[in-house]
């Protein structure tokens, strides 16, 4: 660059000279590692937490550091780096981020009249309909789920499942692995196939078609001359490795006979398979053992009346109420024990939300599964290491080890056994989300809030007049009698979330109202006396008349 001569030139020069460092700075800022730091935003260190690594021993009190979306270090003696946001992990447990092994999270499929025909979309990926900013994803994360195998469940050959992280900027960056596996369902389509039997026929013919297409393609490659060119068919081509038995197919099964259908198809066509859903696995555990296939068990518990064989023990039998209760208990236990049965069959087990109308009861159902016989440790593995292995991503997910993706599930308490345990934080690709402690069911509106004997003070004409209020309560319904200055008024009404609203009638005058808020044993509100206006009131419940007592009226 020539030396500047004039002030204008000097400014140009300076500007030019400044460009370089600016440019340099920009370059530095845009470089990958800095990009990641910006993408990531924070370095986190959780200290003094229980680290369940699933790679060796549990660290009872240790520190885990994540940087750049990856786990940097962890251990009892790790010191948080200077640039880390330090989180006090006292009382917290850090697990590898839970993986939803079969999920429809974030899927926005066109519905109604625009419903897609999903009989054979084998070449498509489920991520095509995945929305990273979908409103339901926080619900999944609240259950500690950091990643999920996203699969369409509305198809026959509906496309390939993909492993997505459940928080991030866009689908591309949230993709962990795509495709993971080809999916096959038993879902009725508009038009053909509409019935279950036609779905199975369609499955068979499609596999035959794929095998045939394979043969034609092979032949055309070997010796194209003189042979009619096989038409391109991306969907059949996507099924070739499945048809050859080289890659597995993920079969979505619900009931006992669905599994047998899948097994029979696999046998006839030489297929490898995994199983998803499998709510009645407990009814065919021997066959599962024999098949040896991984089972991605849905935590959707079917109603016992829907389970195959419900009627076998009940139809046209003269059962006593006790017998009915006992059978229902047994069946409910069996349904809850489904995942345990898969574990006992000795096949790879993973847990999933697929089929649940909402993920909100996922952890609750996992707890029920543990209560019904699935060892808590296996439940944990079924949410972490097992699915990572099954999906072929065990080198980057499934355990807490340095270098792996920073997907963490941080809980307060043991979510596998304790009702009041909950997910406090999740980290997905190093991004943090914190959850409030779930609110206990509100005290207001519960039984006993209003019932009791209240000593009232009513402001009438500037004076405070004493009175009593006797209330009885049944659920949300409240009835009682107000006695003031020799007058007795009967009221009926409701209490909801601590708000009491009652009406009564005053002879020759019309209706009266009593509204108040109740906190503990104190009541504040007002008494509406029709045309005579209203009077403020306060009240105290007579001690000994506990809120939970229900008493008959005076």
């Amino acid at each position: 660059m020539p030396r500047p001569h004039s002030p204008r030139d000097r400014w140009t020069f300076t500007r030019g000279m400044l460009c370089m460092p600016v440019a340099l700075a920009i370059l530095i800022l845009l470089s990958p590692s800095t990009l990641q730091a910006q993408y990531e935003g924070r370095v986190y260190a959780i200290t003094g937490a229980r680290l369940v690594t699933l790679a060796g021993v549990v660290v009872e009190k240790g520190t885990i550091v994540i940087r750049g979306g990856l786990i940097e270090s962890l251990g009892a003696d790790v010191v948080p780096p200077a640039d880390a946001v330090v989180m006090d992990g006292d009382g917290l447990t850090v697990y590898p981020g839970f993986i939803d092994a079969f999920s429809q999270a974030g899927l926005a499929l066109p519905g109604g009249n625009n419903r897609e025909y999903a009989g054979n979309l084998a070449h498509r990926l489920a991520s095509e309909h995945f929305k990273g900013d979908s409103q339901d994803l926080p619900e999944y994360r609240k259950q500690g789920l950091t990643a999920a195998l996203i699969a369409r469940s509305d198809g026959v050959f509906g496309g390939q499942a993909v492993l997505m992280n459940l928080m991030g900027e866009d689908v591309a960056s949230m993709t962990v692995k795509a495709p993971v596996v080809q999916v096959m369902g038993y879902q009725s389509q508009r038009g053909y196939p509409g019935t279950l039997m036609a779905v199975v026929a369609h499955q068979r013919q499609t596999l035959i078609d794929a095998t045939y297409h394979d043969m034609l393609l092979t032949r055309y490659r070997e010796a194209p001359r003189g042979m009619a060119r096989p038409p391109a068919d991306p969907d059949l081509e996507a099924l070739l490795t499945v048809a050859r038995g080289e890659a597995p197919i993920l079969g979505i099964v619900k009931i006992e006979n669905d599994f047998k259908r899948l097994r029979s198809l696999a046998r006839d066509h030489g297929l490898q398979f995994w199983i998803a859903g499998a709510s009645e696995a407990f009814r065919v555990s021997d066959l599962l053992r024999e098949a040896g296939a991984p089972v991605l068990v849905s935590m959707d518990f079917p109603a016992i009346t829907d389970v195959t064989g419900y009627q076998f023990d009940r139809a046209y039998k003269n059962l006593t109420d006790e017998e009915k209760k006992a059978l229902d208990e047994r069946d409910r236990k069996a349904v809850h024990g489904n995942a345990a049965a898969v574990f006992q069959a000795g096949v790879p087990l993973a847990l999933a939300t697929g089929g649940m109308s909402s993920p909100a009861s996922f952890l609750k159902n996992v707890r029920l599964a543990v209560e019904a016989g699935l060892p808590a440790e296996e439940a944990l593995k079924a949410l972490t290491l097992n699915p990572a292995k099954i999906f072929g991503v065990a080198d980057v997910l499934g355990t807490l080890e340095p270098g792996k993706i920073a997907n963490l599930t941080v809980t307060q308490g043991d979510v596998f056994t304790a009702e009041d345990a909950y997910v406090a934080h999740v980290f997905v690709d190093g991004r943090k989300e914190t959850f409030e402690k779930p609110r206990a069911p509100t005290a207001g509106g519960g039984s006993g809030m209003a019932a009791g004997s209240w000593a009232l003070s009513v402001s009438l004409g500037g004076e405070a007049v004493a009175g009593t209020l006797e209330l009885t309560q049944d659920g949300e319904a409240v009835t009682g009698t107000l006695s003031v200055q020799g007058q007795r008024l009967d009221f009926t009404g409701t209490i909801l979330a601590g708000a009491l609203e009652m009406t009564g009638s005053i002879p020759d005058l019309g209706s009266a109202t009593l509204t108040a808020t109740i906190e503990g044993d104190r009541m504040t509100g007002s008494l509406g006396l029709g045309p005579m206006g209203s009077a403020a009131l306060t009240g105290t419940r007579t001690p000994g008349d506990g809120g939970s007592e229900r008493r008959a009226g005076p």
Binding site: S188, G191, Y192, P193, G194, T195, L196, M197, A198, V200, A201, R204, Q205, I208, D209, Y212, M215, L216, R219, E222, A223, E256, N257, K260, R261, T308, G309, Y310, Q311, F312, A315, Y316, K317, N318
Partner: protein, 446 residues
């Protein structure tokens, strides 16, 4: 890729069973062993035998005679004063089908199999057992010109699905004619055929395609055989086979007689049309379902060897059923048309024995001929008459024990047995009033 069904291995198990039959005392006691003592045994094929015992070993009838010795450990049922008939077969049912019994999206769907959609915990199975039914033929619906492949199930209530199947039973394919097929078309106006003449052409076209398919495979097999024999160095690449087509395979099975045609039809002209098409394609005669007007073309039916599976006296519920007469059974009988009585209903299946009695009231048929209509004739419809449908040594131990002769008014089913196991026992079932008196005419049981 041969389309020939594997040789029936039942011949081997049949040999095994024969051995067990010869040496009834020799085999160890199983859950499928039973001695039914002292009833009137209605054999169907060999008359009614009073005070006769039936011994079932390993699910097969081992011995029929008087004062048989019960092998040690075998359960004995006292049937004195009772009537023992073969388990009833329902030749036309739609029970136990999961998520859709009719694939109505297209008019030709023979690739579809009822066997792929069984739900075996249908409580209607139990009430059918309570009516003495042991085997049902559950079928594709009747809204398609060519429907799907049907399935035979033994009503082993409480067992897993595969236990209900009869290995190597012949296949059957559902066809339908008339209002149902065309009504489905009219809801979906683009679905051909709309007219009865259209239906005929769909049948012809489908069977012709099947013929073409079989020919293509024959050609391939010949080419392949020639290639196998040819000189390795000069013969070039192996010939490519045609693509397997499940639809055409199912139709080819009909052409070769491997699959029995079960044709839903009411009007005589439609049935005559099917016989014409079947003759054109050398298809062996099958069974017409409902066939309420078959009596009008009885000589043709008989000559062509078609059988019918009918309602005894239902009529008038649609235009097609307006000419049905309860006397049809008489005309069929006089012309030698094999007739079975079916239910096509989870309600009527419970009382097929009562339906069969109509044969006496409306037509004066011999009583045993009426019972044939719900036993051996139905078994022949299904091609399993070597296994069920009468009480003969070597057949399956499927029976129903009645309080009275099954065609007489006080008759009710006391027990239903499949392959030597009791699947319905009235004394173990929730009945309305245990005090209700024994049906009149029942002998005192000691």
């Amino acid at each position: 890729m041969s389309m020939i069904r594997k040789a029936i291995p039942w011949t081997f198990s049949g040999l095994l069973m024969a051995l067990l039959v010869i040496l009834p005392g020799a085999a160890p006691v199983s859950a499928q062993d039973l001695l039914i003592r002292g009833g009137t045994v209605i054999t169907i094929t060999n008359g009614d035998l009073p005070d006769t015992d039936v011994l079932i070993r390993n699910g097969k009838i081992a011995e029929i005679g008087q004062n048989l010795t019960a092998p040690e450990g075998v359960r004995v049922i006292d049937a004195r004063g009772r009537f023992v008939m073969p388990g009833i077969l329902d030749s036309h049912s739609h029970m136990g089908i999961d998520r859709g019994l009719n694939e109505g999206s297209r008019s030709v769907v023979p690739e579809v199999r009822i066997a792929d959609a069984i739900r075996h915990d249908d409580p209607a199975f139990f009430t059918a057992l309570a009516g003495g039914v042991t085997t049902i033929h559950t079928m594709h619906g009747s809204a398609n010109t060519i429907g799907g492949q049907n399935e035979i199930l033994k009503l082993k209530w409480g067992r897993p699905w595969e236990d209900l199947l009869i290995p190597d039973a012949p296949m059957s394919l559902k066809l339908a004619l008339g209002e149902n097929v065309r009504r489905s078309s009219s809801d979906n106006p683009t679905r051909y055929p709309r007219s009865r003449s259209g239906v005929a052409e769909v049948l012809r076209e489908s069977f012709q395609q099947a013929r073409n398919y079989m020919a293509a495979w024959e050609r391939f097999e010949a080419d392949r055989a020639a290639w196998d024999r040819a000189n390795r160095r000069t013969r070039g690449l192996a010939p490519l086979p045609p693509k397997r087509d499940l639809q055409l395979e199912a139709l080819a099975d009909v052409l070769t007689g491997k699959s029995i045609l079960r044709v839903h039809g009411y009007r005589a002209d439609e049935m005559a049309m099917v016989m014409e098409v079947a003759n054109e394609f050398d298809i062996p005669p099958g069974v017409f379902e409902h066939a309420l007007d078959a009596y009008k073309i009885a000589p043709e039916m008989a000559r062509n060897g078609w059988a019918t599976s009918v309602f005894a006296d239902s009529w008038g519920y649609k235009i097609e059923a307006y000419e049905a007469i309860p006397y049809k059974m008489l005309i069929h009988y006089e012309h030698g048309i094999r007739t079975s009585i079916n239910s096509d209903s989870a309600e009527r299946v419970r009382r097929l024995f009562q339906e069969a009695a109509r044969g006496v009231k409306y037509g004066g048929l011999p009583e045993n001929e009426c019972l044939k209509m719900i036993t051996i004739n139905a078994a022949m419809d299904l091609g399993i008459e070597h296994r069920v449908g009468s009480i003969e040594v070597g057949k399956d131990g499927d029976m129903a024990i009645f309080s009275h002769y099954p065609l007489h008014t006080p008759a009710r089913v006391e027990m239903t047995i499949i392959e030597g196991e009791v699947f319905f026992d009235r004394s173990q079932t929730h009945v309305l009033a245990t005090w209700t008196q024994e049906p009149e005419g029942g002998e005192e049981r000691p």
